[in-house]
Every structure is written in C-alpha cells, then in structure tokens.
C-alpha cells in the first residue's frame, strides 16, 4: 500500500507520521507537497499536525483551499482512506470533508498532555485493531481542539455513529475533568458517514513504537495498512 503524507507550509508532525509508516510498519510512503495536483498513486492519505499556513485566519482554513486538497477530496469521494491528525483534523473540517469545527480550548490554554480515549466503534477499517469500548492513552498538543457543532448536528452525528473517539477518564468514564479542551459531548474524533475519512485531535503517531513506551496509536495506522493485523489486535 502506498501512503501519502501531505505537507503544508507549517506542518510539523509530518515526519513522525512518515517514520511510523515507513520504519515501523514498513510501508511505501511519499510526501505530497500542498501544491501537488495529483496524489502520486497513493492509496492512504494522511494530513499531519502542525500549524499549516501559520494558522492564519483559523486553524486549517487556508490549507483547506490548497491545490492538493482538490485531489484529496476526489480520493475521499471514491472511498479512499483519509486520516487527519490535529491540524489535519482542522483542515478536514474546514474543507467540509468532516462535520463540525475546532475552536479555542475552553481554558484558553495550549494543552500538551496524555488523554484517555474511548473507542466508540471498532467496525471501521481505521479502528479494526481496537476493541469496542477499549480505552487508549494518546497525547494531545493543541490550543484549538474544542469540537463544536450545532446541537441538532451533534444528534445527527450520534445517530449515524460518527463519533469514533471520546475523551474519558483513565477508567473509561465520561468525566468533564478529563475533557481538557471542552469539546462538545467530549468528542475527540469523528468519521464521515461513509466511514473512510477520519479526524482526531490526539496524536497516534506519537505513541506508535515500542521505544516511545506506548503503542496505543499504532493500531490506527495498522487498521488501514495491515489488514492482517486486525485479527491480532482483536485477540489482544
């Protein structure tokens, strides 16, 4: 499988994603510069974290209009997997490939810490290495990660099972104290209705290798690039 890591001016988590795919999971990986008009034959597209275009206007707003996003939209429309992490999630919402928006954290603070996420569904390719209800420990590092949408749209998301990850306590309970950015309904990650475009604020690429002391993020990449790993994950 060929993976493409999109590079916007100001992306800064691109190499971490590249490293996980290339060296940990031994996949074919290329960078896709934001001015590219093709995806160079990539099957799996990742929009990494960072401060694309300096976060001018709003996080992800400028990147959403960049040339490469036209091809990403096409790829997504054909059912190709697209993963947006942190700023990449913001880009996907600004491009309207995912519902909702990410706003300034409730406490105005940049939050850089581990969070606990409940896997709300494991029937997606992305989450096929996880168990339904499993609690993952993934780090966040953002100032604008508070998920927002109109109340009726939030209901719609729930009805369509589009909420994939929620911030919970280490014991897996919904607890406002563990929802550091103040996201509506503790939403940490959402998927589109078709199930092939996923965005989340936490950073799975920062906990996807033994040496980092935490492997909880690896499954998110494995689910797409190593379908065989799904069985291993489910048996864990």
């Amino acid at each position: 499988m060929r993976c493409g890591v999109v590079l916007f001016p100001g992306s800064n988590c691109d190499h971490d994603v590249y490293h996980v795919l290339k060296h940990v999971l031994e996949q074919d990986v290329v960078y896709l510069w934001h001015e590219e008009t093709t995806l160079k034959g990539c099957d799996f597209i990742i929009l990494p974290g960072g401060w694309s275009y300096g976060d001018y206007l709003r996080g992800g707003a400028m990147a959403a209009l960049s040339p490469v996003m036209r091809s990403v939209r096409e790829h997504a429309g054909k059912g190709g997997p697209v993963l947006g992490i942190c700023n990449g999630f913001q880009v996907l919402t600004e491009a309207r490939l995912l519902p909702g928006a990410l706003r300034r954290n409730r406490g105005l603070k940049f939050e850089c810490r581990d969070t606990y996420l409940k896997v709300e569904r494991s029937d997606l390719a992305f989450t096929s290495c996880y168990r339904q209800g499993q609690v993952l420990r993934l780090p966040i590092a953002h100032g604008e990660g508070s998920y927002e949408h109109f109340p009726e749209e939030l209901d719609r998301l729930e009805a369509h099972r589009q909420v994939v990850f929620r911030y919970v306590s280490p014991a897996g309970e919904l607890d406002d104290d563990w929802n550091f950015n103040g996201s509506a309904r503790a939403i940490a990650g959402v998927v589109n209705e078709a199930g092939n475009v996923l965005g989340l604020m936490p950073h799975p690429e920062r906990c996807a290798e033994e040496v980092l002391g935490n492997l909880d993020g690896l499954g998110l990449f494995q689910g797409i690039v190593q379908p065989a790993a799904r069985l291993v994950g489910a048996a864990r």
């Binding site: 707003a61 209009l65 919402t93 928006a101 706003r103 105005l108």
Partner: protein, 94 residues
C-alpha cells in the same frame, strides 16, 4: 468600493477569549461590562462595483473563507468611501 466584514463567534458558542477579556475589563474597574465577544474584522477593497453586486461577492467570500459558519457569524458593510487609514501608535512614531 470597500467592504468591512466583521466575524464573531456565534452567541450560542462559548467564547473563552471574550470571557477572559470581560473578566479583565471588570477587574480594572469597568464593572458595567456584561459581555464581550472577541472577533475579527476585515477591510476589503474591491474596485468599482455595483453595491448590491459587491455585497453578494463579499457574502460569498464569507461563506467560502472568511467565516466558518459552523461556529461563527458575520456582518458586511459596503461603502463607497475613499481609504481612511486608522492611525495606530506604530504609525505615529514612524
């Protein structure tokens, strides 16, 4: 033609920045302040255009880029005024 666009967080949405500014204003003695919303404004020069056409075009700009209507609302003022630069501290010293 010139357009002035102001963008604010929707009222229903928590505006932590506005809240922090309100608290600060109250702390320095402006007890009468009940609410602050922190937004952005844009001045857009358009060249000669019919005012209605200008409003339509700027409305499209807001929908496409200047505002994220999931969390923000916007207002547009169109004027035929010549450019009137705001005097800032930095400009005065230059």
């Amino acid at each position: 033609m010139r357009a002035k666009v102001t963008v604010y967080p929707r009222r229903e949405i928590l505006d932590p920045q506005g809240k922090a500014i309100r608290t600060a204003l109250q702390r320095v003695g402006f007890a009468e302040v009940t609410e602050v919303r922190a937004g952005k404004s844009f001045e857009i020069d358009l060249g000669p255009l019919d005012p209605q056409k200008a409003a339509d075009r700027v409305g499209a700009m807001c929908e496409q880029l200047l505002a994220n209507t999931v969390v923000e609302e916007y207002a547009i003022e169109i004027s035929a005024d010549a450019r009137t630069d705001v005097k800032s501290g930095a400009e005065k010293t230059s």
